[in-house]
């Protein structure tokens, strides 16, 4: 799916299992927290959780604003 989107629009793939994303051919990849809750952590307070989520989304936006030539994983 990510590849078909990338044919026409810039896309950042935000997912937990980076190697799978790499195999399916995503170019901009941001690792997330855990499979059942990629953008959250139920062990934290709702406020902490949202802050965490915001950090990840900002990282995703940064990835979209970064010129790349090959598959890149944005860890920070």
């Amino acid at each position: 799916m990510v590849k078909e989107i990338e044919r026409k629009l810039p896309v950042v793939h935000m997912c937990t299992i980076v190697p799978i994303s790499q195999t399916v051919g995503a170019n901009r990849i941001v690792p997330t927290i855990a499979i059942p809750h990629p953008f959250g952590d139920p062990s934290r307070t709702p406020e902490e959780e949202k802050a965490l989520r915001r950090k990840l989304v900002e990282r995703g936006l940064k990835a979209l604003q970064t010129e790349i030539t090959e598959q890149t994983v944005f860890n920070e």
Binding site: T16, I17, P19, A34, I35, P36
Partner: protein, 126 residues
Amino acid sequence: MLKLITNNMNLYNTVRNGEFIDGSSLSVLIRVRSLVHLGSKILTHPLCGNLRPNHQPFRSVIIDEKSGPADLESLSLIEDAVRVYQSCKLIMPEEIDEATLKDYAYIDSELMKESLIQFSLLTHNP
């Protein structure tokens, strides 16, 4: 923490730390998958035994239960195992007679025994 996830009551009764799943082999695999998604590692192959899923009503998997990032190898193994099981739904037998069921439970216990000993999970012989 090492733990056996199983739907084989015989085996469950012989281990130090286990979780009994009152359900099918697939339910065992799905429970293991949920735990892997949260960071647990699989220590024994979820498809052990050389039978097609429809001939394996019992499933037992030893995991190292923990939380954190998912272990890739465990993940790929468990996802593949679940996929294999789901692809075989059609030929799952509906009922199995007692004697055969006993054989199945026995084989499952046998396959796990060595590993359970290796991981010091066994309290007595199954």
